[in-house]
């Protein structure tokens, strides 16, 4: 696979060319923050972003996604295939999160709704240029990535290196005009940048290796931290919604106004919402905020590890920023448990 060096002008014209031929989603400014959205013009693209409000999971597991169509008489029609698209500017921690979600939706019953979107997508990753206020990717081992994307863009001075790692990425690189072969100095600077990101891309420091977290959480269900911090929880589910590794959903039927046809839709749900573990008859298996709060951190640090070998926190820091009550910082939780062991 090849690497191309291109300047800002060549990058812009490349992106504009892609926009002309594909549906392209990329990072744009939204007020004083950033969000993934459809790109109409390369000038909108902000590869210097720190973090997006929502993770790019919304393109694979949309907030609301049709699973099937039905008619009242009882016929169920599968939905059609999604359209191909290019996802431009995904940060490494989000690349890792997408790879984790791929496992969930491809293993143990293949979920075509998620997987077809994944197969149709070309992911252009982008190394982080600016640290967000609460990022801690360096301690989670997610500050840089070498797989899970089709092309990786890295800013080196005023230029970019575009590194294709898959045939899909290679095909995308073919469309660059005015690119050049990478010089050894740029490649060396990229190596240095990766080393720096892996050491310094953190505003909070987890005081253990991520792989130690299942052990840190083991037998700590009664630790006072759960109750203490959960006393301030609004059960709003914001931490779930902004989390790139949260994928729980609810399923509902929507009926058209003529009451003849409708669709079955899944929507993002969250384990911090009060009714998440409610069963028929009214019993709630996680009725207290403390139980829900504890569940979230166990799921991130232990349950999914036990099941699929994943630490389901990639250090993006979105939950820390989104939490009104200021209780969502996983690093604070895990460090406290670590100190008290």
């Amino acid at each position: 696979m090849s690497i191309t060096k291109l300047n800002e002008t060549a990058l812009q014209s490349w992106v504009d060319r892609l926009i002309g031929q594909h549906q392209v989603y990329g990072v744009k400014a939204k007020g004083d923050r950033f969000a993934f959205g459809p790109l109409d013009d390369a000038a909108e693209l902000r590869l210097d972003y720190d973090v997006t409000i929502l993770p790019p999971k919304k393109y694979f597991l949309p907030q609301s996604q049709e699973l099937l169509k039905f008619s009242r008489r009882g016929a169920y029609q599968p939905v059609g295939e999604p359209a191909p698209f290019v996802l431009f500017g995904v940060h490494p921690y989000d690349v890792v999160a997408i790879a984790q979600m791929d496992e969930v939706f491809s293993k143990d019953n293949h979920d075509r709704h998620y997987m077809q979107r994944r197969e149709k997508a070309v992911i252009v990753a982008c190394d982080v240029q600016k640290a967000s206020p609460n990022v801690f990717a360096a301690c989670m081992g997610t500050a840089t990535v070498q797989e899970g994307f089709d092309v990786l863009l890295t800013r080196i001075g005023d230029d970019y290196l575009a590194d294709a790692r898959t045939p899909k990425g290679e095909a995308l690189l073919q469309r660059i005009e005015g690119g050049a072969d990478p010089d050894p100095a740029s490649l060396a600077r990229r190596e240095q940048l990766w080393q720096d990101l892996n050491r310094f891309l953190m505003r909070h420091e987890l005081k253990c290796a991520p792989a130690k977290l299942p052990g840190v959480l083991d037998q700590q269900e009664e630790h006072p931290i759960w109750k203490k911090r959960a006393e301030r929880c609004y059960s709003c589910g914001s931490c779930n919604l902004v989390c790139p590794t949260c994928y729980c959903f609810d399923v509902q039927d929507e009926v058209d106004w003529d009451l003849e046809n409708g669709r079955r839709v899944r929507r993002w749900d969250g384990c911090m919402l009060a009714e998440f573990a409610l069963v028929a008859g009214g019993h709630n298996f996680r009725a207290t905020r403390a139980a829900r709060y504890r569940h979230r951190y166990y799921r991130k640090g232990k349950y999914l590890w036990d099941r699929m070998g994943q630490i389901a926190c990639v250090g993006c820091g979105r939950c820390v920023t989104a939490c009104t009550a200021d209780i969502a910082n996983p690093v604070e939780v895990f460090n406290t448990l670590l100190e008290d062991r």
């Binding site: 019953n109 979920d111 709704h113 729980c248 399923v251 069963v279 349950y303 036990d306």
Partner: protein, 278 residues
Amino acid sequence: MAQNLTKSGDIYVPQIATLVRKERLTELETFFEIQLESNQPLGHRPGQFVMVSLPGLGEAPISVSSRPVGNTFELVVRRIGRLTTAMHRMEVGDKLGIRGPFGTDFPVNTFRGQDVLFICGGIGLVPVRGAILEVLANRAAYGHVAILYGTRGPSERLFVDDLARWKAREDVTFLETVDRGSDAWDGNVGVITTLIPKIEIAPERTAVVVCGPPIMYKFVLMELYQQNVPKENIYVSLERRMKCGVGKCGHCQINGLYTCLDGPVFRYADVSDVREAI
């Protein structure tokens, strides 16, 4: 695992099925016999569940109550929400959607050569009935077979014909109780745990199946502990509100376990230390 995928290969698209027989069992519970449009057997094992689907009303996980024989299968549904209320209004010949069968089963074949004890409370008889029928159909393969059944009152007893048959059998110990009796009731009155000391249990060679409301588990399991039944010999069926049935939606999680994939039937030894399980 989803064994009955539709042609679309889509885990969320149900198969069409027809209601072929319907019978009201109690004020709240109705029995449904269902046939897939493909006319193929459901292919379930006792204890598994299906996702029942009605257009516009959504889906709900429902235990299969029949033995895996023939090309129809049976459900018993309590009228409790929108979907189940609509099911109760269905008529023979009406269509419904079915996904599954899903989840783990009561491994009755591994009980062969052992005594088997079934302890069911109320609607907990529904998922266990298929296992009971399976054991009784191969009665000679098992040691002593005992069935304990408790309901709140005489009017809430399910499968009364089955209960009468089991009571009449000489090769089955069948005991019943109700929490509150009535004028016509001349049987035991009291909670189900009061039945356990009335039978002889050989703890090391008895497989125990327990299914009932959450509150029942605590007391029954305590009583079984008193009787020295090892946790490895006890099987429980747990209820959670699955939204997908295929291990994705997260709703049925019990710590790291998914009720739809790892359950609903669990060996008690595997969940006794798991918080929020029982």
